[in-house]
């Protein structure tokens, strides 16, 4: 059989360099394909190469850079290269997690785009043999005034809820920002975490010759052909429609059944390996399973369940229909696995076999239609070292003369109200109220806190998860921005009292063919590397999304970082809000206060259109962040602090306001910022910084707590006291009613969306 040459079908267009180019391959890549095959590819084979060698599947522009990321550690069980990373978290449990982007599809059809994004990442976790227990998301939208934006916001949020709520995986947190840079290219990044027993992880590599390839789930349709590959691997032209694939529609009901059926099938012990059919569908799942095991695979396309008749081999192989999984089953045990799927009323059948020879072959109506060396599709796909070109970044940090520019014009209370009512700072309750964050009964800290906290049933442990990105900093300096994203996510996890154990990252950039973008990418990866090393957190999985640009306008570099942490005793967790009146309030500080790239600066610039303040970024010292993280978990374990909240968008003032919003009744606070004198006092109120954390604690514990922080080289400064009366008083600066602020904070987003809540 191996010396037969695959046939072309009568309907196949002639294979030419032009066709290859239209499918997103370069002329040179086409020549390499011919060389690898020793002949001209068939149309089907060309299609297969085009998806497997796409940026999305091959990571050809990012691979060289990603190698720098630290991905080993004592607790790491699976690192990058698998469907998701896995980390040991104690009591025999593994946390399996990953984040992924679904940007372009969500811009074309926000509801289905976001929904299928949730479904896709859930199945990545499922493929590892883990039960998905939570998702989080990171959303970047444009300006509300931009024509389609309200529609996009509603659609994306609706789609995340529509899928997540119906599939029974709680959406426990996330982040959302709004900025004009994303007007024509919104970002939808979804994170999923699952739990698996130690020793029960599913493999993603073929093990034995003769194992059956079982296809399970929805039938294959024409949807999403070249979806991830071409769409996510080429920039977007708002005028051009031809690259838009037919939209993929998710079926969360099928998704839920698939979770239950797959977990039950894995429990039989007959399944050797598994992969979801995500981007490039059957092609990538089958070839990657074979490649990882150093084996080959033969597929009989006539056995594949089809939604509509008369799909061509090309379409069957490239379809990105949702809710499909590929399982490799020990020879002779197919029946056991198939009967599980029958119980769940789910289509499943044997569509091929694992073979010894390192070939990837497909048969259609009895004839060979594709025959490719497995490695040519996977490990031997092209890798590029693309040119980089630096953009100038201001390096000198000084904050002297420029500060006074903002003084005297705006009243502090007014600024604070505007800040907490701006979409980026305001409560995201309008969003998470549409998500089921309770199902599975594990959610100890619900959306709205610094990090989501989930208990692990049957143990005292809990997991903390936060996703973060900082587009303002990244736009200014991709290195500092990336360092900040890692630090902020780690701090958020530490603020609930947990110890960070793993990172997953989703890197969103413009076209890698632009040297400036490639530079942004490279700098960001260096930033993540340095921060991860300093914080001693391994990067165990991730995703790269290039070509986020429309009409020649790339988005700002946007690395989204998710950090997972462990709390050994869930009873030690901290809230982000003040717990009780009379507690002391203190600020933990490492490094400098910053006004550059803050929400405050953006507000001032907006008010005096076009004025740039020339504020420069101070460096971030990840070592001080590490010290803060360690100190927070120690303080939490000692039980000496009541709450912790990191200062992020909007600065110290906004963080203080948020601390007052105890869900059992709004509290107040009275503080003085005197002595935070590296800036004029007025601006310190709105300054951000990394690390900066507001903690509250019984006065009796002040001394012990101070020692925990200062021993690690951090500043620990008592600011004031929590009050029963819901008033925010900042000496000489602010005197505001917290209930009124609560209204502003919670009504801002619905109001922007034209709702009267």
């Amino acid at each position: 059989m191996s010396d037969t040459i695959p046939i072309a079908l009568p309907s196949d267009p002639p294979v030419t360099v032009e066709l290859a180019r239209a499918l997103g391959l370069t002329e040179n890549e086409y020549r390499v394909i011919e060389a690898r095959l020793g002949r001209r590819p068939t149309y089907t084979e060309l299609g297969v190469f085009s998806v497997m060698w796409s940026e999305h599947c091959s990571y050809k522009s990012s691979k060289l850079h990603l190698r720098q990321l630290p991905h080993s550690g004592r607790a790491v069980v699976r690192g990058p290269g698998e469907n998701a990373g896995a980390i040991e978290i104690g009591d025999g449990w593994l946390a399996v997690f990953k984040i992924e982007s679904h940007n372009h599809p969500s811009y074309v059809e926000p509801y289905q785009g976001a929904a299928t994004g949730v479904g896709g990442i859930i199945r990545d976790i499922l493929a590892m043999g883990a039960r998905p227990i939570a998702t989080l998301n990171s959303l970047k939208f444009g300006d509300f005034d931009y024509p389609r934006m309200t529609y996009l916001v509603r659609g994306v949020v609706g789609g995340i809820g529509g899928y997540g709520n119906c599939v029974g995986v709680p959406t426990v947190g996330g982040e959302a920002s709004f900025s004009k840079e994303y007007n024509k290219n919104i970002l939808v990044n979804v994170f999923c975490l699952g739990l698996a027993r130690k020793g029960e992880l599913m493999s993603a590599s073929a093990k034995s010759v003769g194992s059956a390839v079982i296809y399970a789930g929805s039938a294959t349709g024409r949807d999403g052909i070249h979806g991830a590959s071409l769409l996510a691997s080429a920039e977007f032209d708002s005028a051009e429609k031809s690259k838009r694939p037919s939209v993929q529609v998710g079926d969360p009901f099928m998704g839920k059944i698939l979770i239950e059926a797959c977990l039950e099938a894995f429990a039989t012990g007959a399944v050797e390996a598994c992969q979801d059919m995500g981007a490039a569908g059957l092609t990538s799942s089958s070839s990657e399973l074979a490649a990882r095991g150093g084996l080959g695979i033969e597929l009989d396309l006539d056995k594949v369940p089809l939604r509509e008749p008369a799909l061509t081999p090309y379409e069957i192989l490239l379809s990105e229909s949702q809710e499909r999984m590929l399982l490799l089953v020990c020879p002779g045990r197919e029946g056991e696995v198939l009967s599980v799927f029958r119980k769940w009323d789910l289509p499943a059948c044997v569509v091929g076999r694992i073979v010894a020879e390192n070939r990837w072959r497909a048969f259609y109506r009895g004839a060979l239609v594709a025959d490719i060396p497995v490695n040519a599709l996977t490990v031997d796909a092209p890798v590029y070292n693309r040119p980089v070109k630096a953009r100038p970044v201001a390096r000198d940090y000084s904050h002297s003369s420029t500060l006074c520019k903002s003084r005297g014009e705006l009243e502090h209370g007014e600024v604070l109200r505007v800040l907490i009512g701006s979409p980026n700072v305001a409560s995201k309750r309008w969003i998470y109220r549409q998500f089921d964050y309770l199902v599975q009964s594990n959610t100890l800290v619900e959306p709205g806190g610094d990090a989501a906290v989930l208990r692990i049933k049957g143990t005292q442990r809990a997991l903390a998860i936060a996703v973060d990105s900082n587009f303002r900093l990244c736009a200014r300096d991709p290195y500092i921005g990336a360092v900040a994203a890692v630090c902020e996510a780690a701090l958020n996890v530490a603020c609930v009292g947990a110890t960070p154990v793993g990172i997953t990252d989703c890197l969103n950039y413009g076209s890698p063919e632009r040297p400036e973008v490639m530079w942004e990418f490279a700098r960001s990866v260096e930033g993540i590397r340095d921060a991860a090393l300093a914080l001693e957190i391994p990067v165990v999985s991730g995703n790269v999304s290039f070509y986020n640009e429309t009409d020649g306008q790339p988005i700002p570099p946007t690395p989204t970082i998710a950090v997972v942490g462990v709390l050994n005793e869930r009873a030690h967790r901290l809230s982000s809000y003040f717990k009780r009146a009379d507690d002391a309030v203190a600020l933990v500080k490492g490094g400098k206060l910053r006004l550059a790239a803050t929400a405050y600066e953006a507000l001032l610039e907006q008010k005096r259109s076009g004025v740039s303040f020339g504020w420069v970024l101070p460096p971030i010292e990840p070592e001080l962040v590490k010290a803060t993280v360690d100190a927070l978990s120690e303080a939490a374990a000692l039980g000496i602090v009541s709450s912790a909240h990191d200062v992020s968008e909007g600065g110290i003032g906004v963080a203080l306001v948020e601390c007052c919003f105890n869900p059992n009744g709004v509290l107040g606070v009275e503080v003085s910022l005197d002595g935070l004198d590296e800036l004029g006092v007025g601006e310190a109120l709105f300054a951000e910084g990394t690390p900066l954390v507001i903690v509250s604690l019984p006065e009796a514990n002040l001394e012990r707590a101070a020692k925990v922080f200062t021993d690690r080289g951090l500043e620990f400064k008592t600011l004031g006291k929590v009050k029963n009366e819901p008033k925010l008083t900042v000496k000489d600066l602010i005197d505001e009613d917290c209930n009124a602020l609560w209204e502003v904070y919670h009504r801002a987003l619905p109001r922007r969306l034209g709702e009267h809540v």
Partner: protein, 77 residues
């Protein structure tokens, strides 16, 4: 107005309904598609204007033309 899932686009609802109908014993059934049916009144005398308005409403709000088709029937046309 009739709004239906586009040809070739997955219609999980139609599929589920078909499955149920069959298990209820309606074996002759096939090709179930479930769409929306929207009735409304328009304060205009002109059927032509009514159609034009209806079309705009479908394009802007009632149908999602990326995945749905629509049809309009105007009373008195």
């Amino acid at each position: 107005m009739f709004v239906t899932p586009r040809e070739g686009i997955l219609d999980p609802q139609g599929r589920a309904v078909e499955h149920s109908l069959k298990s209820l014993g309606f074996e002759l059934v096939s090709g179930v598609r479930v769409g929306k049916y929207i009735v409304l009144e328009l304060a205009t005398e002109s059927p032509a204007q009514a159609r034009q308005l209806a079309e705009q409403m479908c394009e802007q709000l009632l149908a999602n033309t990326v995945i749905e088709d629509y049809r309009i029937r105007v009373e008195g046309e």
